[in-house]
Each structure stands twice: as structure tokens, then as C-alpha cells.
């Protein structure tokens, strides 16, 4: 019998799965049928067709990968909001921690066995309000204040770090404390997908993880999962804003 992926996940590792949200209509329909009734209801309230399609795919993707980690069928994998608002895989009694994020054409789900994690993904795009937002959230660097256009990478790294920290602490952006986020161990990478660049940050308790492994979800209702695309060794990198390029097409 296949061992659940959760049991093969070393306690000091974070697994990150990424999924392309663009799928053909036939697969979308299969995914939609696999959603729980409440999720189907939620999908119907989304006005934008693109946003609705992406919602369906990322929820189905989450069910499939959670199912693989727990060795249960995707339809039985239930991810609930915990008392603090964190996503919790039902039936794991807190043993498997997960974090989710999406932006543009990509969604990610991260897993860890030992400690809480926060993850955020953001597609890079031209920003009209970069300096103002950096100041508003108090992460303005000297370059932000000068309006250096080449500083976009730093902005997106800081933004995703802030959001990952907010998710780690389970607070909204209005309440996230940058000083507390700075005390976490955070990893940021940039990855490329369909010609777009994305910033991805993971926040966890200091020294609780030693490696982050990235995998690509190959899709399909059965979910072909085991495809590692990159690794990030946290022991060999600075604790904050470790930015590495990863061209992933």
C-alpha cells in the first residue's frame, strides 16, 4: 500500500506544489464536480469568468494534493478554516500544516509537518503605487523612496514576505506587524511561468525548516504529483529575502 506523502515529508522540509490554473473546459467541469457543495456555491458568486475558473481549479488542485498527502480520494479531502482562520486539512489533527496562495495563472499549496507556515505568491506587474504602498506598509527602502524602477523585484519580495507573514500570524494586512514578520524565517524566490514572473515567499518560525522543495502539479483528476522542479536549502541562505532566480517554463 502506498504510504501517504505526509509520512514521507521530513519534519524539517516544506513541500511547495504549484499548479497552472489554465485548464481546458472538459477538465474544468471534472474539477467543478469534485468540489464540495459550499465551494460550488462560492464559485457561483464570483462575477468574473476568469476568476471563477481559477477558483474552481485551485480548490480542486488543493483537494487533490491534500488527498495525496493523506492518502484519501480528492472528494474526501476537506480543507477547513481553523479557529484562527488557518487552512487545516480535516482529520490530520494539526499534524500536517498547509498554506495556500494564488496569483495570475498560478496557485501554490505548501505543506509542513512540524511548524506553522505562511505562503504568498504574487505575479509581477507594473505598479502605479509602488512607493506609496511601500510607505503605507512601512517597508519602504531608500530605493523605494527614490522611485527606482529597477526596485520592483525588491518591492514584490517585500510584499509577498509581508503577506506570507500575515498568513503565518493569521491576521489581515491591516493588522500585520512588520517587526514580528522580521523575526520569522522567510524565503523568497522568483519563478517564471508562461512568460510572467512571480514572487513567492514562505514564512515560518526561525530554524524550523531546513529545505523547501518545489514541485509542479501535472494536472488531471488523478493528479500526477511527483515532479520536483527546484530546491532551496534554508541552512545555506540568509534568513530574510533570499532571492534566487528560477526560470521555470
Amino acid at each position: 500500500m502506498t504510504k501517504p506523502l505526509a509520512e514521507r515529508l521530513p519534519v524539517s522540509h516544506v513541500h511547495v506544489w504549484q499548479c497552472d490554473l489554465r485548464v481546458p473546459d472538459t477538465r474544468l467541469e471534472l474539477y467543478r464536480r469534485n468540489l464540495h457543495p459550499e465551494e460550488r456555491r462560492q464559485a457561483r458568486t464570483i462575477v468574473s469568468e476568469i476568476a471563477r475558473r481559477r477558483f474552481i481549479v485551485r480548490r480542486a488542485f488543493r483537494h487533490i494534493v491534500v488527498g495525496k498527502y493523506l492518502c484519501i480520494p480528492p472528494g474526501k479531502a476537506i480543507v477547513k478554516q481553523g479557529s484562527e482562520g488557518r487552512p487545516i486539512a480535516a482529520g490530520t489533527h494539526g499534524g500536517l500544516r498547509l498554506g495556500c496562495s494564488h496569483s495570475g495563472e498560478l496557485a501554490v499549496v505548501a505543506f509542513n509537518r512540524s511548524a506553522q507556515i505562511g505562503i504568498d505568491l504574487q505575479v509581477k506587474r507594473p505598479m502605479r503605487e509602488m512607493e506609496e504602498i511601500a510607505r503605507y506598509f512601512s517597508f519602504a527602502s531608500r530605493r523605494h523612496q527614490k522611485g527606482d524602477a529597477a526596485d520592483a523585484d525588491e518591492f514584490f519580495a517585500e510584499w509577498t514576505r509581508l503577506e506570507a507573514g500575515a498568513k503565518y500570524f493569521c491576521v489581515g494586512l491591516s493588522k500585520v506587524d512588520l517587526a514580528k514578520v522580521n523575526n520569522l524565517s522567510t524565503q523568497t524566490i522568483f519563478l517564471r511561468h508562461r512568460g510572467e514572473q512571480y514572487a513567492l515567499s514562505i514564512a515560518c518560525k526561525k530554524l524550523s525548516t531546513t529545505a523547501v522543495l518545489f514541485h509542479r502539479f501535472a494536472g488531471g483528476p488523478g493528479g500526477e504529483l511527483n515532479r520536483a522542479i527546484a530546491t532551496c536549502d534554508t541552512a545555506k541562505t540568509p534568513e530574510k529575502s533570499n532571492v534566487v532566480s528560477r526560470d521555470e517554463r
Binding site: I46, E132, I133, G172
Partner: protein, 85 residues
């Protein structure tokens, strides 16, 4: 500034930032996320409107923005309070 003018400004700003958004179809009872906006889009909309309308919305007030209408209300209230001061 009257509420309707703020709503016009919100729709215009949202259309500049959120891809494929038709400002005329916006329903104020819906959230920006229902139109495909991300949290960064929302923050950029708020930031742009604060600059345009000269409104200073404290960060702590952002948690009140659940729908498009609630953003209009927040800006309206902020501007009214600034006028009193």
C-alpha cells in the same frame, strides 16, 4: 464630496488596476475579489484613491473593506471627518 462621486472614482480606479474589469458592471454589494482582484490590487486601488481624493485612510481601517460599497463608505466617512478637522 458626495458618495456618488466617490463611487465614480472607485470604479475608474478599479478599471485601471484590475484586468478585464468593466466599471459599469460593478455591483457595490460584491467584493473586488469577485471581479478577480487580488489583495495587492485592492491595496493599489485604495492607495491611488487616497492620493487622488486626498483622503488619509489609516491602515487599521482596511479590514472594514469587504465590498466595493464598503470602500466607498470608508472614503466618504474619512473625507467627511477630515473636513470637520
Amino acid at each position: 464630496m458626495v458618495r456618488d462621486d466617490i463611487m465614480v472614482a472607485v470604479k475608474r480606479k478599479a478599471a485601471q488596476i484590475v484586468p478585464n474589469l468593466n466599471p459599469e458592471s460593478l455591483d457595490s454589494s460584491k467584493s473586488f475579489k469577485d471581479y478577480g482582484a487580488t489583495s495587492l490590487d485592492l491595496v493599489e486601488i485604495v492607495s491611488g484613491l487616497m492620493r487622488e481624493l486626498r483622503a488619509k485612510v489609516p491602515r487599521s481601517e482596511l479590514s472594514k473593506v469587504n465590498t466595493i460599497g464598503s470602500l466607498v463608505d470608508l472614503l466618504h466617512k474619512t473625507l467627511a471627518e477630515q473636513q470637520v478637522k
